[in-house]
Assembly symmetry: C2
Amino acid sequence: MENNLNHRVLNWTPVPFNKVNVTDDFWLPRIATLKNVTIPACLTQCEKTGRISNFARAGGLETGQHQGMYYDDSDVYKVLEGAAYTLMHERDPILEKEIDRIIGLIAAAQETDGYLSTYYTLASPDFKWTDMEKHEMYNGGHLIEAAVAYYEATGKREMLGVACKLADHYLSMFGPSKRHWVEGHQGIELALVKLYHITGEAKYVSFAQWLLEERGHGHGSGAIWDKEDWGPAYCQDDVPVKDIEKVTGHAVRAMYLYAGMADVARATGEEGYLDALLRVWAHTVERNMYVTGGIGPSRHNEGFTADYDLPNDTAYCETCASIGMALWNHRMNLLFGDAKYADIVEQELYNGVLAGISLSGDRFFYVNPLASEGNHHRVEWFHTSCCPTNLARFLPSIGGYQFAVTDKGIVCNQYVAGKADLQLSDGFAVQIESAADYPWEGNIRLKLRPQRERIFPLLLRIPGWCRGFQVCVNGDRIHPDAYRLEKGYLVLERNWGVGDAVELRLEEPVQLVRAKAEVESDRGRFAVRRGPILYCLEQADNPILKYDDYAMPADMTWSIAPGSDSLEGAYLLTAHDRRGHTFRLIPYYAWDNRSPGFMQVWVKELESGALYKQ
Amino acid sequence: MENNLNHRVLNWTPVPFNKVNVTDDFWLPRIATLKNVTIPACLTQCEKTGRISNFARAGGLETGQHQGMYYDDSDVYKVLEGAAYTLMHERDPILEKEIDRIIGLIAAAQETDGYLSTYYTLASPDFKWTDMEKHEMYNGGHLIEAAVAYYEATGKREMLGVACKLADHYLSMFGPSKRHWVEGHQGIELALVKLYHITGEAKYVSFAQWLLEERGHGHGSGAIWDKEDWGPAYCQDDVPVKDIEKVTGHAVRAMYLYAGMADVARATGEEGYLDALLRVWAHTVERNMYVTGGIGPSRHNEGFTADYDLPNDTAYCETCASIGMALWNHRMNLLFGDAKYADIVEQELYNGVLAGISLSGDRFFYVNPLASEGNHHRVEWFHTSCCPTNLARFLPSIGGYQFAVTDKGIVCNQYVAGKADLQLSDGFAVQIESAADYPWEGNIRLKLRPQRERIFPLLLRIPGWCRGFQVCVNGDRIHPDAYRLEKGYLVLERNWGVGDAVELRLEEPVQLVRAKAEVESDRGRFAVRRGPILYCLEQADNPILKYDDYAMPADMTWSIAPGSDSLEGAYLLTAHDRRGHTFRLIPYYAWDNRSPGFMQVWVKELESGALYKQ
């Protein structure tokens, strides 16, 4: 397929995480927990709740009615996708046997014409494709993603066959001069682009583009559209996608839509999406994003309300929406080659997304408020359990966000310790190894092993939170005149030899963050950040404080040290003010892992007499 | 003399700089330049301008009239004081010979009754003690300080004898039941306390206290008092010192007054000064201090105007006033044991004071604006040349601000690399050695060698600009529960053994500083600071910019690297914004050392769309 993206886009190539060997002290234990605890726990829940049986029943392998909700198939697919990712880190015959068994059930559940959605097959076979809100293609999208992942991890094709058959079924029914379809919950679009990349079949990306173009023309119908206070904006069907100005409606759907638009733009060179993506990105991050990276303040529509409406205690901030932000921003970064999108990926990774899962790996938040009086806790599973299964598939793929390849060089987007075997666009091989105590310390050490000496640019993301950095190559400090900063990247273009070492020192001070005055909920307050980690104050460390009944001056001194083992080596911040009060803050992602109690991100600021304030 | 200071005061003991062997990469070359360039240059100027001849003429050793101003004697004393300080670093027979020669002239100029002020002796012998503005005791104060310094440096008593004879002359004429005297330009008070400490003669500190108490009762008279728009407030004679609420009048006089009050309080236990000092300190630093540490915005009165009146381009900010702030705050620190005063000492050392002298050591600012269109430059000498000679005596004493001793332990106030032999209050000996690349890097390494193992507190100042720190002892990170923070100090109380090593990592990020909204001149602007160093933008590095005709966004990325040799290894900050503009900033103290051009500290802030701002 011809790519004729205009000059505004760079269209970098991602380095898939199976080319990256993560050795990171922060992420490696978490990936192990995902494999050993989270994925087995999710599989058990899928089994217990009938999500897996639904496939067996739809396939006629056992008897019984459909259990649960019409979108429950997707949870099984997402766990399989996550399991596939862990297999890319390390194969596991026992896990594969279980997956193969489930794939067998899924294949059995697929109807002869390719249709696959156990709810309709079992409960309502005569009403397929009658309500665009019923997640039929949403389920299919997750099937495709899981199939691609499992094929990449194992080379096994059975599930990929199911996926292609299902996609071909869609193509047979919908499309130009066929039926209209506005999928109520997006996700299918980006899945189809993945299917295109793995199969080389351009029809899948064309269909993804057709699905995008279906929106905003009044073709949508079903439960959502009929609800007066939701309507088409709820699922971003209010305007044609090229005309999108503002983020609206259900947060996860919006994110998956924009991710799909970016994917289609990258794959097809569709320029019409670029302006819409830039506009809606600015509208999202400049007016509608929490400092955690969380989005979608309202429980009512699981989504957006009015600009700057960012309440803390009632913040909805669905975990899946943060994952969606990461997926979208990752694609924006590849499309436009700007570090500010990778900044958001990082913000979600270490805050908005990571808070969704307990340190133990078996308890989850669906809703992620920025303040709690003490009654909000992670649980093992939900009736609608998209978040646990989304975490199970998203987090093991962390390595995939680390590097990218430009037309000439290499991009370091995330500072996760690991080793990657990359190929530049002309096939030139470069091994890159990164070491860091990130996120706790900002010293990044990179080692390059190009196949031979060569001049190429190495792009190092200078995170948006980072005000200052120093950089050395092979121990020599590099003067600012010898490099450039472009779109948030430090660009080191030089003749790289085997074993060349780069040391990047990112300043990681304790930072007090204040919101724009328009954000009423945060007025007179600050949040505390260090590096990419947003902090919060939790009752467990501050037993004498009462919820929101305290204030902190801005000129406190923070001592920085790893905490007790209960928070897995996380650096805690202990502040002392001049009245003799002490406050201890922990990373936001780590809250609600100890004794229950209140939590706050935005703390009241005690006005000081200081003439100058940083 | 009995010391019965109340519980609010700690009354630490300073460690004089002759007990401290400075090895600092930042300060050592500057002290060498002071000795090799500045002091010889000042002596030459004193010679050329008749300042030294005035003594010879007053002593009848040569003929001729008084040259220059009535306060010019003080310049000679200040250079001798500075020269004495350099001799404490390293004796120098040639320099001593020259000083001894000048001391001979000074001794000759002293009248039989002890009187010494060459202006009156030569030009107006019948009008001694008729105009309290004529700096007779101000001159004497500097004589005393020089005498004490030279005695401490060399053990030679001649000048000290002159000083005591002069002080005794004051005592014979003024005091309870004798004549009133309100010295127009303070300085004599703190000098008398020095004389008390070196001689043990309580009469000197009593007289200093009497002089303080003379103020604010209508006893003052002379040129200043008669001027309608100056009046008694100009020299802080408007209210009794215990009733001082606000900083007023001539900045240097105010600083010397408060320093004298702190000294007398420390020496006598005079509690009545404490509240006044605390009040006027807050009024000074919270409403009337520039971000450079500079004070006194107005050229008209060389002093203070209205609260928050801090214009940048017309800022007067006399170098001597910054030195005065350092002298006063050093004493406040010793008196109250609070790091916030040592913060100001540091702020002055690296900014307000240091800007006063060229890197070459032979050119000086009297006036230190925070913005210049390009026509403000250092010169070799002034008609009123207090600033060069004040720099010559202040800067070589840097080591004296480094350590103090509490009733039980040791205080590290300034992080200058060096080695000191201290004695705790009971005589227990501790050698302490500090190493640091300060101010450029915030890693401080301290080594302790107590005479034997002992439990005592080590107080490490956590600078006010520093938001976060980490601390290790003998390589082990210390958990915040194992220390406390008190009045800005990290207090490490433990059993210290020989060779124990402390590593303190102070975060030194690039910081954007904003002024309180009340400061009209700085509204919509920020200043840039890193560690204790305030930065400025100078045309030499930014040839395409025009004075105040540019704006910088807050979310820039700063690369940090030493500059070219022309700025002696100073770290420069190079910022890149997303429009492709580059800005380079240099330390404020280093401005006007290269090609002339504009300079600005407070730069206009380009508003960004950012929802969250640090």
